[in-house]
């Protein structure tokens, strides 16, 4: 198998796994928010808006960074940062949300602040991966449209699986703190893989 095919397999696998973890953690986030801000549609609105903002920031940042550096290692470090953040969440989430509820309240500002603290940084760092994957796989502009389609399509399959499997299979079996640790571990491993495969993923990049 040519190394460009292997490169593709590796990056598409990472796209699925990271897509899974990203949406899986969004679903878990609801469990952290409900006890403080209630379980209404307003909590979901803040949650979804925050995730979309994180995706936007991640895409912008990732695009800018990959053009400048072409460095899979950098992307790997950012992913490890996201995983480390997730690891830390159970340590501070209860005191912080308690404080938020008392001082900011449970309105839009309070819930969005809670969702932001939980999700914005790690999800931004995870979604940096997508533009990196596109650029690292892009060898010819004439293939660019399809490539972008594939990368987004594959990572969205990961999103869909992450949403459904987390809610219908994982959450009925394991606690949300334990699952957060598992997702954190998976994201760190993805980051390590990118750091380790730095040269290979750069490949023939100019």
């Amino acid at each position: 198998m040519s190394s460009s095919i292997l490169r593709g397999i590796m990056l598409f696998t990472l796209a699925i796994v990271l897509g899974f973890a990203l949406m899986g953690f969004e679903m878990l986030a609801s469990r952290y928010l409900y006890p403080y801000f209630g379980g209404g549609i307003n909590t979901w609105a803040s949650l979804i808006a925050t995730v979309l903002v994180a995706l936007m920031l991640g895409y912008l940042l990732g695009g800018a960074l990959v053009d400048r550096t072409m460095s899979p290692r950098l992307c790997g470090f950012l992913l490890m940062g996201a995983g480390a953040y997730l690891f830390s969440i159970p340590l501070w989430v209860d005191p912080l949300f308690g404080w938020t509820l008392r001082n900011v309240g449970d309105g839009m500002v309070g819930i969005t602040f809670g969702a932001t603290m939980l999700l914005l940084l790690p999800l931004t760092l995870i979604s940096v991966f997508t533009p990196f994957a596109v650029r690292l796989l892009l060898t010819s502009v004439s293939f660019g449209g399809r490539l972008v389609g594939y990368v987004y399509g594959v990572s969205t399959i990961g999103n869909v699986l992450g949403t459904l499997v987390t809610v219908f299979t994982l959450m009925p079996l394991y606690g949300s703190r334990a699952l957060t640790m598992v997702f954190a571990g998976i994201i760190v491993l993805c980051g390590l893989a990118m750091v380790a495969a730095h040269r290979f993923l750069r490949g023939s990049a100019e």
Partner: protein, 314 residues
């Protein structure tokens, strides 16, 4: 890209919210009568029906109607739904009855009854849905005063923010057919316990037809030393407090003294006579971390099975 991703997430969130269905405040029944008003609030689809002299507040869910509250216009002081009468039992258990908190207002029939019966008590009802409070005022003769107040808030958020103490806490929060998970965990009951005055009690309306009931009572009894049950026909009413269990004769004496003092329409002595005490809970304790309410609720059990975990008191 962002557009359809956002749409997909919204759809999933909506499907999830719909999929959270299960516990019934009162099992669904065919809605009868003339529709007086329909409101789509932030939390519920609320339908108010009138059937001859009865007005009902129902939440529509999965094309079924779940009755939250009933009022008989010819006899507005009556507690028309059986379980509501047992919700007044906290009066027999509590050391004092001056401060009562209800989470989940509905039509407000329970707090209205208590407010009329207890002239010295202050009652606060926390209700998440502003439209439910409006409709309670409009159709169910819910009238606020110095002694009866409604607060629009999530029940748990309210307790977290307000650390005043209560003699009786009534838990009756249903969103259509189900209790939100964060009002069923050990952390929630621990919070409620921390807001009880000495000798305070918690009275909860629980729907017994699924496995979730077992977990709910296991969770309650992991926090409170004594938990008693009453068969409110369709629903079960649990009374929990942190002291040792009352001897039946003592409880009857307390009920009799409160009854003599307030001349309650639904005689506490008759209600207390139906007490069952918890023998051994068999469910799994739910926590904020792990509360698979959807899965538990999907497993139905026979309506009367809960009695196996309880026995007649001594």
């Amino acid at each position: 890209m962002g557009g359809w991703r956002g749409a997909a997430r919204l759809t999933l969130a909506a499907a999830l919210a719909a999929g959270l269905a299960g516990l019934a405040a009162v099992p669904p029944q065919a809605a009868t009568g003339r529709l007086l008003e329909k409101r789509e609030s932030l939390y519920n689809n609320i339908f108010v029906f009138r059937d001859r002299d009865t007005i009902s507040m129902t939440f529509g869910h999965n094309k079924r109607y779940f009755t939250e509250s009933l009022i008989n216009l010819k006899d507005p002081g009556a507690l028309s739904i059986e379980y509501a009468r047992y919700m007044t039992l906290g009066l027999a258990y509590a050391a004092n009855t001056g401060r009562i908190l209800e989470i989940g207002l509905g039509g407000g029939s329970i707090v209205t009854y208590l407010n009329r019966a207890l002239p010295e008590s202050t009652i606060v009802a926390v209700e998440i849905d502003k439209d439910v409070v409006d409709l309670a005022r409009k159709y169910f003769q819910f009238q606020e005063s110095d002694r009866l107040k409604a607060v629009v808030a999530d029940g748990r958020a309210y307790l977290l923010r307000d650390d005043s103490k209560w003699d009786i806490v009534l838990l009756d929060a249903y969103r259509g057919p189900f209790v939100p998970f964060h009002l069923l965990t050990r952390e929630f009951y621990t919070l409620v316990k921390s807001r009880l005055a000495p000798g305070g009690v918690v009275v909860q309306n629980i729907e017994p037809s699924t496995m979730l009931f077992d977990s709910a009572i296991a969770t309650m009894s992991s926090v409170f030393r004594s938990v008693d049950f009453y068969d409110g026909r369709e629903n079960v009413v649990a009374v929990a407090h942190d002291g040792p269990a009352f001897r039946q004769a003592d409880l009857m004496t307390r009920a009799a003294s409160v009854q003599t003092r307030y001349k309650l329409r639904y005689d506490l002595r008759r209600l207390v006579a139906e007490r069952r005490v918890l023998r051994k809970p068999r469910g799994k304790v739910m926590t904020d971390d792990f509360a698979p309410v959807e899965t538990l609720r999907a497993i139905e059990q026979h309506n009367q099975k809960w009695k196996e975990q309880t026995e007649a008191p001594r």
